[in-house]
């Protein structure tokens, strides 16, 4: 089953299930990038409240997805990290998560909006004078 992506204004929202498979990850990346490319969104908030564990594979997937969104011209924010997950990630080593983060979904949406505004809108927008 594909991981659903919701659209709130110009921000895409997705919540990762605890038992995410490689295929679901690939589908999610393709779906999110297609929506951004089609001009339907500026960014993506990935909520990991439901993720019981973030291991190095999950960390790689998250960082990779953020990088893909970024080189497409969008922004990606990770939201909803549980305290135990953060503690474990720090214990495991440096550089596990290489992306913007926010406390929760609401903060994530606000952060995407701020980041898009601060760089002056979408990358492909022609500024109006």
């Amino acid at each position: 089953m594909r991981v659903p992506i919701l659209r709130l204004g110009r921000v895409l929202l997705t919540s990762l299930p605890a038992d995410l498979t490689d295929q679901q990850v690939m589908d999610l990346q393709i779906d999110a990038l297609a929506l951004i490319q089609a001009g339907k969104a500026d960014g993506l908030v990935i909520d990991i409240t439901a993720a019981d564990v973030v291991d190095s594979y999950m960390a790689r997937i998250l960082s990779e997805t953020a990088k893909m969104v970024k080189i497409m011209g969008g922004v990606a924010v990770l939201a909803g990290m549980q305290p135990a997950v953060a503690l474990t990630l720090v214990e495991m080593g440096r550089g596990m998560i290489d992306m913007e983060t926010a406390f929760d979904l609401e903060g994530g949406v606000a952060k995407v909006a701020r980041m898009v505004a601060s760089r002056g809108g979408r990358h492909d927008e022609v500024p109006t004078t």
Partner: protein, 137 residues
């Protein structure tokens, strides 16, 4: 406090099995009085080793967790073993940033930092066996 060891075994061949293994690990740790954070650390270590079985071996492998209570303490042994290809250079595999499949290269060194004791033996063409110990308090 039980005198009998509490054993959980999961055969890991797919990502779904890996998810089951880490959920079992968390439940086992909580059952034996480990804190939520320690239980989460163990679940993450199990997840790393289980995903290694899925990604680096053809037929998967076995995750076995054994908990033993003592007075005011407990220990959990985590064993991951497979009959897979083996690791040619163990020192290199334990290095931060080394990966054979474009990963972060922090799976094994990260796992070592999450547990109290970490031992790995591997023979090319025969398989790999990893034993970890986690203690409380």
């Amino acid at each position: 406090m039980s005198l009998e060891p509490d054993v959980v075994t999961v055969n890991v061949t797919s990502e779904i099995d890996a998810a089951e293994a880490r959920q079992e690990a968390r439940r086992l740790a909580l059952r034996h009085g480990f804190t939520t954070v320690r239980a989460h650390g163990l679940a993450t270590a199990v997840s790393e080793l289980a995903m290694n079985l899925v990604l680096h071996t053809d037929r998967g492998g076995l995750i076995r967790l054994t908990a033993q209570d003592a007075t005011g303490a407990a220990v959990i042994e985590l064993v991951a073993e497979d009959n897979g290809p083996g690791i040619p250079d163990l020192a290199l595999a334990m290095e931060d940033g080394f990966s054979t499949r474009g990963g972060l290269g922090c799976g094994l060194p990260g796992t070592r930092r999450l547990v109290d004791t970490f031992a790995i033996t591997s023979r090319v063409g025969e398989g790999t066996r990893i034993v970890c110990l986690v203690r409380r308090p």
